[in-house]
Symmetry: C2
Subunit: 297 residues, 2 copies
Amino acid sequence: MAFQLLNGRELSLTVLTEIAAGVRKLIAAGRRAPHLVAVLVGNDLASETYVAGKMRACEQCGFRSTTLRFGNDVTQAELLAAIAALNADDEVDGFIVQLPLPPHIAEQAVIEAIDPRKDVDGFHPMNVGRLSIGLPCFVGATPLGLITLLDRYGIDTTGKHCVVVGRSNIVGKPTAMLLMQKSNPGNCTVTVCHSATPDLARYTRMADILITAVGQPGLITSSMVSEGVVVLDVGITRQPCATARSGYRLVGDVDFDDVAPHCAAITPVPGGVGPMTIASLMRNTYLAATANPLDQS
Amino acid sequence: MAFQLLNGRELSLTVLTEIAAGVRKLIAAGRRAPHLVAVLVGNDLASETYVAGKMRACEQCGFRSTTLRFGNDVTQAELLAAIAALNADDEVDGFIVQLPLPPHIAEQAVIEAIDPRKDVDGFHPMNVGRLSIGLPCFVGATPLGLITLLDRYGIDTTGKHCVVVGRSNIVGKPTAMLLMQKSNPGNCTVTVCHSATPDLARYTRMADILITAVGQPGLITSSMVSEGVVVLDVGITRQPCATARSGYRLVGDVDFDDVAPHCAAITPVPGGVGPMTIASLMRNTYLAATANPLDQS
């Protein structure tokens, strides 16, 4: 069966280009460029890479961007003071605190200190709650990326059975909430599976749309899906690979070569959901600067 | 098959009795009784009845209770001022604004004006968001009532497939969120069905635990369930009834006589979920006065 490749790399460029066009209009109208600040604590290599990618995307969009660095020994009080300053700064439209934080800092206290109107990661309970209720909000970057993929590739979701594997706060739970809303994309019958689900295949085989976000390479094989399924693979795991220049390769939760021939559409890993996540963060920052969802009801 | 009747009327009395014992201890320790305020706008008969029931339950618990009445013509500004006063009043532990409100008042603005620490209905996005994230919060009275029924009747939920019919903000969505958490009760594989679900029976027949909250009498029949299912029926609809003294009777979404023989356990309507809802509001008020969940992480 010929499957449609859901090319997140390509679509993310389209989204970034659209945002850049919007920014040029803002500036032509005499307004300043949107401004995203990333708060980076310590020197975790992965965090450095993620933040660098986000700052690069800001450049592509014509945003102003700032990385605010703190040492690994920053106190929680110092970090909260910095967040209060960002909340109060009219020149900052949105900001993110790159996770994870060092163990001596209470992550949830930090997240809840962010003004929900500047919480472009969508992690604050106000945004999570408004998402659940079905109100305008900052939708987390990964769920927003997934929705955008479905939307832009014209995949009809109404009445479809969407099976989400994984119940994380960052992907599984908000994605399930989004897709069950009376909206488009949305209106799915949604099933959430996770580590306590016995016989996972019983559910995945029922899926019209299958979303996996667990980080278990090869978890989903062809015997676990039905013909014509749409698969969105959020899992990204580094696997050692002798033939790769870097010594490793990135793999998803889905055994792509085995599953793809049975799909109507599927995201590759890498180049699927990943790039859409960064594009969605840019989208949220643009919204923060132009039409804050927290001001809408 | 002999089924267990999940007697919410009986269990709610047990819960109220436990709370009353807690209140006696508080008072013996020199503290004041918990205080719940109900804000009642207009003179909707159903709202009057609901609020009266809640005030009666306060009495059973030994709570102080106050009903704050406003005419149908109250302005939104006046209502918001009253809420600000309740937020600031140290003698008020929790309060509810009885819904629905007159159409000239923006319900969501009113809900979001309530201090989440006093939002014993659990409708504020902060509480909804913290519920979704899995943090301590005020859980809405109906979802909390459902969880309490499962818990106190010793119904194991881990690994079970819970099918929720209905995606309301008050019942369906928060109940689904609660039951998918890594907690006990919880740890269910959860499916949410709704008006856009084709072939509802395909899902309900898979349910180990079936929760319906749509308000369609007789929606669930025996052909739609599997043997040994646990059924919690949140639906309450008034049906005209010639033989009833009042001229009507209350019926749930489940055709009880048809379905019950196939169940391991089932709630009656009335006397099932309904009384648990009020008991759960009392539980939340007690928590607000003694161990506010918003202060915990």
